[in-house]
Symmetry: D3
Subunit: 162 residues, 6 copies
């Protein structure tokens, strides 16, 4: 019998969350290295759900608050081999490449600063991630003026050349 449950992830101010799937407890150490390689002065915490043997949430990080948050949120999610990362002073575009290359990583479900709902399937055996509800539902399609504003914004903050 499968039951569906929801875990809500509130992302702390000025932080982003990344939710993904990997395997093997070495993942926490490899993710730690990937993140310290990505951005000088990045602050982060990682939680990873070991899914055999002691079945503990393994955690690492260089910021105690984010590390504790990641460990607790991973435990609340409790889906075998999933991981959750909270980052500060860096953005997902800075780190996603390096996370995707970690040899244990299977996929990334979401990377966001929005409130995130994680839909989970629970069986007698364990739990798995079904879907991520990342922020809000679309309200419309951008029109010419919105496109102009979007392009201007990306160029003003320096991400694109004019």
């Amino acid at each position: 019998m499968i039951e569906f449950k929801t875990v809500k992830v509130e992302v702390p101010k000025d932080c982003n969350v990344i939710l993904g799937m990997a395997h093997f407890i070495k993942t926490v150490e490899d993710l730690y290295e990937a993140l310290v390689n990505a951005v000088p002065n990045i602050k982060f915490g990682i939680g990873f759900c070991e899914s055999s043997g002691p079945c503990l949430v393994r955690h690492e990080g260089n910021n105690e608050e984010l590390r504790q948050l990641a460990a607790e949120k991973a435990f609340e999610i409790a889906c075998g081999h999933s991981f959750i990362i909270f980052i500060k002073d860096a953005y997902p575009i800075n780190v996603l490449d390096k996370i995707k290359k970690v040899p244990e990583v299977c996929t990334i479900y979401a990377a966001t600063a929005n409130p995130l709902e994680v839909l989970i399937a629970e069986s007698e055996q364990g739990r798995g991630i079904v879907a991520v509800i990342d922020g809000l539902k679309s309200k419309g399609i951008e029109e010419i003026e919105d496109i102009r504003a979007r392009k201007e914004f990306l160029r003003k903050i320096g991400y694109k050349l004019g």
Copy 2:
């Protein structure tokens, strides 16, 4: 309360569709560049579901028809940070590598020319992709003659050396 809904994607003749997850509105511009870098003369349209602030479907492309289709289909899907791409005069194997490398991209759910059903979970907050039903269900396991025909076909169209 979670409700499950289905969005059907009919892929236009001679086109393919790619459905994925990313974050940040820069995604539409980065996907645009990834695609023009991939194949000379590729035709495409991209729709991306912004999931905070104005929550608009952001869109780009170099073909008006495919761009409009992508924008409308993205709006129908309306799952925060998801994107949909329709391509013509190119195939997913030509472009998937470049899309997977876009710094905002989390994952690709499907790449196909088959009819696609997108199963969606909707909460009070928003919507997330649950599963993709890509074409039809398997009808059997290939036997020696099928294997021979498959190998011959791939070599005849030049994808593999004999």
Copy 3:
């Protein structure tokens, strides 16, 4: 109407299973090459669910038992464009990189030696993977002594330098 179903995957002793999503029947041959490139003497079997035309499970491998197992399990899963791989004498960390780079591959759902439950959505059209339940649910958060033991273990087996 969507129905949810579960397929259980028991991983044979000393093996690992990898479950993913791709497109196009060339996938079976490209996965074959990716795996023989990864590890000398790796043993494996691959099953891939073609989702149009004859809709056959396409299969390859260099070990008859694992090839047959992969073909049968893929047929039981029967989700269009999904693939399943059983490997022996190699681990997912050795091969995931090469699989993620195969030009047809969209995503990897799981890579594990644990019992795996694959939750599937079935519509009138076909089937899609909803979630993977990979091993057991988390039982707690590691404490100082567990962290010490984890670090020691990874250094003892040579994966990390002390």
Copy 4:
């Protein structure tokens, strides 16, 4: 005693040349597959210098003229484990990613439509590539008007969004 020699590569009209380093004769087949995966209707020829046993230039391609040109030019270069590719109806930006990922490839020396001089070191044992002279020497530094023209050009041909 090392002697320096130069091989000149004239790139045929509407073609580009790519010069790189790899190892193992499987390289020619893997490069073939990488290129057919990159761009539909790409035309190409590949030459690769085997450097032990029969020491033959191995060649593949889907266009006889470019294949013969690549084989002959590779033989003129004759540096162990180097390869040369001529492509038509595609550009280096379309294919370099896929070439860099071929498991045998070490590095790419140049990718260009310009006349190319390959500087070679020859010892009693064999030959190695020292440098590539790709087109002409710089004549000045771009000024404001040149920058404006460059940006306009890249946006006019559709590679960048305005």
Copy 5:
């Protein structure tokens, strides 16, 4: 007739230099985007040697001083399709991955904070990079005490877990 020449690159305090090979003037814009995606607040300048038509050094950056330095140093190097980048408030390990993925990039010759000598071959046609002399020549082989100190240092600065 080939002549060998040397260009010396003094790396400014707290900066690093990256020297590589690419093709096509779009390289400067693509490198710009790769770098702003890599690290928040990175400061950089890029110079790229166009090698046909006007043969100008193309330059971009978000720091005037580094941009001017890169343009001038690129002009001094003057090897067709080579590029030079000066970065500040970031390290090569943060950005090399993203630079290697830029679709025009062929190879990276060096990434360093050390004084760099670039050995260049000049023919009647143009110039090419022969070798990079990156810092000083090795003075010995590390012994047990040096290994212990190295490991301790990398763990103390947080790059490796103890």
Copy 6:
């Protein structure tokens, strides 16, 4: 004044050598991890030329003989930031991907089981790699019968499907 010198690398029986360029002493530890992740039971030694401060050859490995060989050969090469790896019970195609992804790695000069000559430029400041002479010079261009034999060989050893 630049002087050219040659270092000869004899590759031990059943081994392969990989020669590349990186930066920062963390390279030895990152290469160690990349290699243990690549192939179970791989044997290897790594030498890396630190090029500032103590300028020591840094070394790691899981096989004493190969580690010592790599350290000594790196010291003989003595080019700042270059590295040399000897591997056994694995082939370059198994590991090159993972080495290219190490965040410090700039390029790979060669990967081979052939005798290798490394041509080096020495200035008053230090040394840099000019060229690799990997095995022997080409003796001819393969003809139809050679192509048939090459294809048959690659299929017989299981690297390609027939």
